[in-house]
Amino acid sequence: MNTERSLILRTLTHHDNDAFSSLVKKHQSKIRAFLFRLCKQYDVADDLAQETFITAFRKLDTYKGTGDFCGWLFRIAYNNFLLHCRSVNRRTEVTADFIKQSEVLAERYESISSEQIDLEQAMSQLNSDEIASISLCHSFGYSHQEVSNILKMPLGTVKSNINRGKTKLRKILNSEAQQISLESARDR
């Protein structure tokens, strides 16, 4: 049976690239979706995801095996994102880039509903700490403490990022809903 642990062991002991490929296939969609939310550009997110998995392959022997493997990947991905932000220093420009690319959004996903597209667009208006905290906690199922460990943020900061982010999301989705209802009333 190819459990995650056995795949990691096979990669480490036999340098088995196929075992690592299985791990990549299992986790790539989550890591790329997480990085896309942060970067708001598909190509940049994919480049960072490639770097994330290459780093994971190189440093697999440092993975202690005690925590969740995907959580370890999320931590590498988030560190890569922070390094990318520092090197490019364009945290403020990304929202505009995302809006430009939102037309092709559906093609990039396994499947995506209009509701999910609205959510992704609303997400793009949050700051990166809020996006990371909300995504890990609400979308990928980690506890507040686990998110705090992955992002290396104090627990209180994680909780306030989540609360602030969700309030913003509600406000954005509320204004969108209001706009839609006004438009439909006008059409009638």
């Binding site: 995801a49 490639q50 990039r108 509701e115 989705l173």
Partner: protein, 124 residues
């Protein structure tokens, strides 16, 4: 009336993240990984060969080759290293360089070369 269903179901929406399709990502990663490690192997091989060349320059090539052949015939690695170390010290002393530091360089060259060969065998 305002449709608040989206806002009420925020947690449910967040719990169902849209996942990005693979579309060749894994294959590209496989290619990048093999490229990275073949580059690393080449780098180590080059480093090993360079060090060996350096040793050949500073010591007597004939003596070194003799010792390399004798090394192949031996089994005990510690003995091999001892013999190589002695030969390097002797040959370098004959040339007139400070023998001790260069003999360590020679040993380092051998270790790098062995590592280079090992790296090639394991990764490729």
């Amino acid at each position: 009336m305002i449709d608040n269903s989206k806002i009420d179901s925020l947690d449910r929406m967040l719990a169902q993240p849209a996942l990005i399709a693979d579309r060749g990502f894994s294959e590209q990663l496989g290619r990048n990984l093999s490229k990275t490690f073949s580059l690393r192997s080449k780098f180590f091989a080059l480093a090993g060969v360079s060090w060996l060349a350096l040793v050949l320059v500073v010591s007597s090539p004939r003596q070194l080759i003799e010792h390399l052949f004798s090394l192949l015939a031996m089994i005990n690695i510690s003995d091999q290293l001892q013999v190589l170390n002695n030969s390097l010290v002797t040959s370098i002393s004959a040339v007139g360089y400070s023998a001790e530091p260069i003999s360590y360089l020679g040993l380092l060259a051998l270790v790098l070369l062995l590592f280079a060969v090992f790296s090639l065998v394991i990764k490729d």
